[in-house]
Amino acid sequence: MTISARQPRSPPTITEDEYAKFCEYFYRKTGIQFQDTKKYYVERRIADRIDKTETESFRDYFTFLRFQASGEELQHLVNSMTVNETYFFREDYQFEALVKGILPARTHNRSQRDPIRIWSIPCSSGEEPYSIALSILERWDQADNWDIEIYASDIDSRILNEARTGLYGARSLQRVPPALLSKYFLSRGEDSWQICEDLRNSIDFSLVNVVDPMQTRRFRNVDVIFCRNMLIYFDDVARRETVEMFYELLSPGGFVCLGHSESMSRMTSLFIPRKFQDTIVYQKPSKAE
């Protein structure tokens, strides 16, 4: 065969064994686990990365990925495998766990003068911290008895301003029941609703780079941290540093809620997994030093 220009390639085939090898590696590095039903989706994205990296086959690509010291390709892969969307009441079972399990646990035998602190990081355009506020107001019967402080932080100042403004379209609001929409939102023209001023003012928004200890020092004695779908984008060491920082900022017995495809088990053993309402959340031991 003579050397010729590269032929347009058909998508490389990935065998069952290669797929299994890939999934185990990807899980170990990111904590993201794929169901067998996702095989086609995963294969398509791997094929795309094989193409972009100009590697010749799955085997070549995997070797490149596995031995790249910078971890850059792994980041590309994570980005291509994850959908970063946010909307009100996304992964609602966690807000259910908050009001049914976490808050009752945090308020048991506690002085009502002691405020409850909840931190949403990254808060993106605000859907998550507002969902937390709405869940507490609407679904926690003890809400009136406590002072609740909700902090919301993101590294991106532009998106943080969106969160402060609180304007949302129908797509963001698809899970908001009409009764809540009319109670807490104001119509601002076609396909645009703004969350009411009281709620906007009740949340403390701040620009925070989570890996900078100076920027996270102001958070202390936090009861619940919502940190969903952020740590998957970090490398192993940054992930360790971040969860250890969470440990520091939480009160003993405080909780961390991660995204549904994430697990603390790949990062640290400092927290105890707890099951609330069919979801697993992570608790700092109440006798923690």
Partner: protein, 207 residues
């Protein structure tokens, strides 16, 4: 909606005075009776690579899991041949948590681990050799697959060979297959190892 406090007062409490950021007080704080102070000191020493040996000294005697976790994390950031050498001592510890924490920390390191760990492949203790294989198998160092193949050729202990076979299921390339086949001949009466070898060859060939 009075329940949500409007504009929570910014810093929840006045911050504790910045812990003595000078190196001397940080080093002293590594031995504070308070675990939180020790963690804070260790973390603050991340930017002081010259404090690495002091962190290793603390790790030698530290028993609190949360402080150990932070010490390991900081030492990963401060990777150096000296740090690696100090950590390797804990592979012989009776404390399983300390041993495994050490293995994980070494697995996270980048460039300086392989030569030290390679020496442990000849250690008289088969468990230490297994740990060495576990560490090598997780590194990004492209030299490791060949070292693991060497283990298959020379290692007498079945469990050390099994650990190398397991690591090669992820990092093995076709040039490992011959040594895997030879190992099957050597340990043909060992069902688990035969199974592991078949699995690894399949993973390398892609089916």
């Amino acid at each position: 909606m009075a329940l949500l406090r409007a504009k929570p007062s910014a810093p929840p409490e006045s911050l504790p005075a910045a812990p003595g950021d000078d190196r001397a007080s940080l080093l002293a704080n590594l031995h504070s009776p308070e675990p939180a102070v020790r963690r804070g000191a260790a973390r603050a020493l991340t930017s002081h690579p010259e404090a690495a040996m002091a962190l290793c000294d603390r790790l030698d005697i530290e028993t609190s899991p949360s402080v150990r976790a932070v010490l390991f994390t900081v030492l990963i950031r401060q990777e150096s041949p000296a740090v690696v050498a100090r950590l390797l001592v804990h592979l012989r510890s009776d404390d399983a948590a300390l041993r495994n924490g050490t293995i994980e920390a070494l697995q996270e390191m980048r460039g300086t681990v392989t030569p030290h760990v390679r020496d442990l492949l000849d250690d008289p203790d088969s468990d230490v050799r297994i740990f060495a294989v576990n560490i090598l198998g997780a590194l990004c160092d492209p030299e490791t697959p060949a070292l693991l193949v060497d283990v298959l050729r020379h290692e007498p202990h079945v469990n050390v060979c099994a650990a190398a076979v397991d690591a090669l299921a992820e990092v093995g390339t076709p040039d490992a297959i011959e040594a895997l086949e030879a190992l099957r001949t050597r340990f043909g009466d060992e069902p688990f190892l035969t199974f592991a070898i078949d699995t690894t060859i399949r993973r390398i060939r892609g089916g």
